[in-house]
């Protein structure tokens, strides 16, 4: 990894905040640190979920990552696609 763990976390959060779509695939975060192995990125993204800064968004067949503030409450709304 070229970035420290904290730097990578910040880069992932920035990406999650600014990406055009609120839900991101894990691969979308690879560019945050091109020198990091995919598993390292995955572990850091999952740590951010544990910390409550990101959340998992599941379509059933695929799991994506999102910032809670960018996802509409799905219950009774059309926020889920």
């Amino acid at each position: 990894m070229a970035l420290s763990k904290d730097e990578l976390k910040a880069a992932i959060l920035k990406k999650a905040e600014t990406a055009p779509k609120p839900q991101l695939y894990i691969k979308d975060f690879y560019a945050c640190d091109p020198d990091a192995k995919p598993r390292e990125i995955k572990n850091v993204a999952n740590d951010l979920v544990k910390e409550g800064k990101l959340m998992f968004w599941s379509s059933g067949s695929t799991t994506m990552y999102a910032m809670k503030s960018r996802i509409k409450d799905e219950e009774g709304t059309s926020g889920v696609n």
């Binding site: 695939y25 894990i26 598993r39 999952n46 998992f56 599941s58 695929t62 799991t63 696609n81």
Partner: protein, 426 residues
């Protein structure tokens, strides 16, 4: 008392077969929300469009899989299915469970969910159908703390590994499928419960080439038991089969009279590689031609047994998609020792090499087998550090998966064309 008129669904109760409509109506007497499943489904039959919304943020704390969000897009009209989430539970190895465990699970699901289940889903999980978001955490707490039961995989996770009954009950099993499935399940808890990949990833463990869990058709890594060396033949038992003293197929298909057992017709002539014959009253096999179809062993289990040196063939890249047709796995390692003695080290190393490559190269929502197909088998076997083998090629020349690199060819690809044409006219 039915809450909705369902004339179209009612038609599905009129045949001689069991009807899910009848089952749901029965359940609706206890769980009124089930009436709304029928109402919404009837509407979908009329309008020819689904009214389920799919996916979302439901889950339980610390887990990124095992729960699949389902919502009605007509919550005011069908409030019972406003939330109707699916919960996948990890099935025990070989699906051995006590009736008490099943009853306890069903009781718990009656308490927190709709009471409806699907035994089992395609991956093997026990599937609990229909509960509200707020019921997920209490259900999960009781299930894990009181029933010692875990969630299965979903989404871009490692899906719940599955295995055949293996050596627990089957004499053909060439390795301990239950031990392999259990140990890898425990080893990869993080990958099962949290997303790790571009898309889903499945292991399946079959003890012999009969492949009772359909690993070769359904899993990204299929571990299928096999043997090296010769099929073990008990010639005395062969004679007993020929004499009709032992029923063929272990007595299966005995419901009607098939006539006297004919080894030539029922075994030798059906061998796909014609590698069997009778000689001096004894059955002979040219084992070098055997493709492990298992037919002869299945017909005469007391006379023929798998060879003594046992392990597994590893095939990679199957998928069974809805849209573009099934893809069988490609054989990658013809024989690997699969043993708990070294904690399945060789298999784990193999799997993680695939993951490292696929996580890097796989596109979003692309199964490992699709990445292999897109980038080619030569690339894949190079990544895996394997040499090309004859077994990688289905038939010479018809699917030339393996291409030589220039540095592998003496003299490279440059040659004297005039000298060549002197010997081979254009």
């Amino acid at each position: 008392m039915a809450k909705h008129e369902t004339p179209l669904l009612d038609e599905l109760e009129k045949g001689p077969w069991p009807s899910f409509v009848t089952d749901i109506k029965r359940q609706a007497e206890k769980k009124p929300e089930c009436w709304d499943i029928l109402g919404q489904l009837e509407l979908s039959y009329v309008e020819k469009i689904t009214h389920w919304k799919h996916g979302g943020i439901v889950g339980v704390f610390g887990y990124g899989g095992g729960i699949v969000g389902r919502y009605s897009d007509l919550p005011k009209r069908f409030p019972g299915v406003e939330h109707f989430h699916t919960v996948r539970l990890a099935q025990p190895a070989s699906k051995y469970y006590s009736t008490k465990h099943l009853r306890d699970l069903c009781d718990l699901w009656e308490k927190y969910g709709s009471g409806m289940t699907n035994m089992h889903g395609s991956t093997g999980d026990m599937v609990m159908l229909g509960c509200r978001t707020e019921a997920l955490e209490p259900f999960f707490y009781e299930m894990t703390h009181n029933l010692n039961q875990d969630l299965g995989g979903s989404g871009s996770n490692l899906r719940t590994p599955a295995n055949c009954i293996g050596s627990s009950r089957c004499e053909w099993s060439c390795y301990d499928t239950e031990e392999a499935c259990h140990q890898l399940t425990m080893h990869y808890q993080d990958e099962i419960h949290r997303p790790a990949f571009p898309y889903k990833f499945k292991f399946k463990f079959s003890g012999c080439p009969n492949d009772c869990v359909a690993a070769i058709a359904r899993s990204d890594v299929a571990v299928i038991g096999t043997w090296r060396g010769n099929i073990r033949i008990d010639q005395a038992a062969v004679k007993e089969y020929v004499a009709g003293n032992i029923p063929s197929n272990g007595g299966a298909h005995a419901g009607r009279d098939w006539g006297k057992f004919d080894i030539q017709k029922e075994v030798i002539n059906l061998c796909p590689t014609n590698c069997m014959w009778m000689e001096g009253g004894e059955l002979k096999i040219d084992d070098s031609e055997c493709t492990r179809c298992m037919h002869c062993l299945n017909v005469m289990p007391r006379a023929l047994r798998p060879g003594a040196e046992q392990g597994a063939t590893i095939c990679v890249g199957a998928k069974a998609p809805i849209l573009d047709g099934a893809q069988f796995a490609t054989l990658i390692v013809p024989f690997m020792k699969v043993s708990a003695d070294n904690e399945f080290e060789e298999l784990i190393e193999f799997i993680e090499k695939i993951w490292d490559w696929w996580m890097e190269e796989g596109k979003n929502r692309e199964r490992c087998g699709e990445t292999m197909q897109r980038l080619g088998l030569p690339t894949f076997i190079k990544v895996m550090g394997l040499d090309p083998l004859p077994q990688h090629i289905k038939e010479p020349r018809s699917n030339p998966y393996v291409f030589w690199q220039e540095e592998e060819v003496p003299g490279g690809f440059d040659r004297d064309v005039e000298e060549f044409r002197a010997r081979h006219a254009a």
